[in-house]
Symmetry: C2
Subunit: 478 residues, 2 copies
Amino acid sequence: ESYGWHVQTVDDVAHGLDDLRKAVTNAQAVTDKPSIIKIRTAIGYGSPSKEGLKSAHGSPLGEDDLAGAKTNYGLDPTKSFFVDTDVQDYFGQVRSKSETKHQEWQELFKKYTAAHPDKAAELNRRFRMELPEGIFDKLPTYKAGVDKDLATRKHSEQCINALAPELPELMGGSADLTPSNLTALKCSGDYQKDTPLGRYLRFGVREHGMTAVCNGIFAYGGYRPFCATFLTFVGYCVGAIRISALSQFGVLFIMTHDSIGLGEDGPTHQPIETLESLRSMPNIHVFRPADGNETAAAYQSALQNPATPTVVCCSRSTVPSLEASTRDKALRGAYTCIECDGTPQVILIATGSEVGPCVEAAKVLSPSIAVRVVSMPCQEVFLEQSVDYQKSVLPGDIPTLSVEASSPHGWHRFSHAQIAMNTFGRSGKGSDVFDFFGFGVDNIVKQAKHMLEFYKDTPVPNLSSFLTLVPPNDPTKH
Amino acid sequence: ESYGWHVQTVDDVAHGLDDLRKAVTNAQAVTDKPSIIKIRTAIGYGSPSKEGLKSAHGSPLGEDDLAGAKTNYGLDPTKSFFVDTDVQDYFGQVRSKSETKHQEWQELFKKYTAAHPDKAAELNRRFRMELPEGIFDKLPTYKAGVDKDLATRKHSEQCINALAPELPELMGGSADLTPSNLTALKCSGDYQKDTPLGRYLRFGVREHGMTAVCNGIFAYGGYRPFCATFLTFVGYCVGAIRISALSQFGVLFIMTHDSIGLGEDGPTHQPIETLESLRSMPNIHVFRPADGNETAAAYQSALQNPATPTVVCCSRSTVPSLEASTRDKALRGAYTCIECDGTPQVILIATGSEVGPCVEAAKVLSPSIAVRVVSMPCQEVFLEQSVDYQKSVLPGDIPTLSVEASSPHGWHRFSHAQIAMNTFGRSGKGSDVFDFFGFGVDNIVKQAKHMLEFYKDTPVPNLSSFLTLVPPNDPTKH
């Protein structure tokens, strides 16, 4: 009531539904606020020994109690899975009524389609989760040395605003971090009581509710919801993100301030375990783009996968555009962004804001050391590529150093050594914090040399020789 | 107000604090409910161009605005980091008053110590996070073939109830899942208004609040708080668990129903990514015990590490007691629980409820194949052991199959192939769901043979040859 809801209480639904029907009629009459009806019930109602007890919740009633409950309901206690003819008749009527209503709706929509073929086609397109033709041509393309270097959160802002005018189903907002997440839609105002056509939602500091709302919008159909917060605040909504993944809701998550590089806000705001937490969840794509083209790829991938939620992790700080990046390459999950002559002696893999320093490190190391740099914006998408492609990027038997300002967990699959975060971060200027924890060019160069030295005497374990097992059953086919 | 708080609003604190002082006095007079004072303020108060604007929150004021604000406060705008003498005097008085109060308290406690030496010693012990001597002797010890096989949640119930009578600082509860988590304290009733000595807290379905409350209890000092829910519901409190880890609060988390083995509740309740999510967080110990002795080890480790939160992940279903398990072995994080004659041809590593089936699989495979089985209740603790010990358990160059009913993420560090969960789970009888996803003895045997076959032609990558890098700076020393 203090939230402004219309609240009613119904004390009894066990001895007839008249009170409940009346409450529903009352609720329908209140059109200026949401209604809630509180119904008092007894758990395990009718069970002779468990009514009102918690044991009626967690475990089966048992034979005697079941028989007793049936008797109390006026049913034959000896019959199981029995549906009386009057119940069958009643639901038969419900079915035929519903069929008629469905038929009426189909007729109406046929008439609507005849009268408004464009609108009907658009409605069908949106409910089928199809995209407008050529939509990805709207995404920006960036050229190193030509376009200004930006933070990937700014690339994200450009991508979402390139898509939004052409994609009316894109609707969402931020958890009170719009000026930081840069998710405002220039083509649309706020969704408010007086502006119901607005597509931008002001969720408030309420990550769980925000994600749950997006799940609800997706479940309704016809919309591609997005939402945004700082990456570390995934900790306040991961239960609801899990529901997106489990329910195959292609919600788009724009998570900025994606590492210790965010600087002054310090360890409470600096994600460490978050990337790996999300990557270890089934049916989710976690993108951490290194520049504008990779950010555009993340958006394209998100839209192309309506049954899989996508998390786009963006930097607060400016990143250099990569010479070699293209949207198509990034759509393979990982690709070679600096190649050397001949077989590389060392491979550096990085994601997001750590790709730039690896490119610089490669310049320092070469030509005396042959270095390949791999940008890996999305592990999950990379692992969906052919084994041949995967091996062409990461042969597995060449000393490989991964560089990601995040937990080392999960990287032993791809790299022999990790520059990573083994502790929480610290407060300071972003670039100072990066340097402190070893993500500066100097330390990358030093560790690459150290690794090369180490594997002079030690055989390199071939990471292409992990054995991937096929599960005995395919859960999608049972 | 609808929650029963005493609520006051103060409209102005910028032009004097009399209203606020009055509100504080009012609040102190209300002793039967909590008080909250809502103070209306303007963000960036006094700043000529940013007062009331969001830009006063996220970025510095800038020189002109700073000077303007100082002028508006009656300060000299040309002075920086300047504290006026009257402010210095005032805080000097605060300091000397506080020193006197501290001195008085010390005197009082000295008198108390003289009058009640036992109580004072106990208070000191608890605030120093020291444990009563011999406390771990109270923990149960289990013998395979003698003690009845139980679910590890039942072992956990026995452990917590063995400790609680001797450990008055142990205080906590469950998020409305007491009969499932089995965390009720037999030696203590509920903490309620009329029973403030009760040590058991009924948190309600409120995982985030529960964890935050435990953080608060730990921060106050003198208590070792614990809390409990289903493991998958970590998704609703991981933001607060992160605060435990970051703040070095040794909260004890008892998380039951720790895999698909929980059965009928289905995928919404079956954790997949949760173990790896927690393992990739800094400063946390994640135990997944395989039997009673390992569960006791988890409790001992939790109490011995007051600056590190511990998560004890327990099974819903019964597990067999391991012949070889002891609390001391489990306290090393991983140990050989089945050894073969000579050098093993295959190593099976498992955790929790998957260790039992691996032991059975080893019986089927041997003697024709030499199999070692390793139980790994805690990865973090294992990685703290000497390299020699780690290699004695997991040499790295012997084909190693990990078996954990959880995401494969994180296991490539320890194993060449994984029987793991690559999708969400499903609803069914626990043992059927285990079998369906390949955690039955037959599939473990089959995959172990398959792995052996695979590595006949393929050199085994030596997982002891990963290179661990030393970060350039130690964050604890700066």
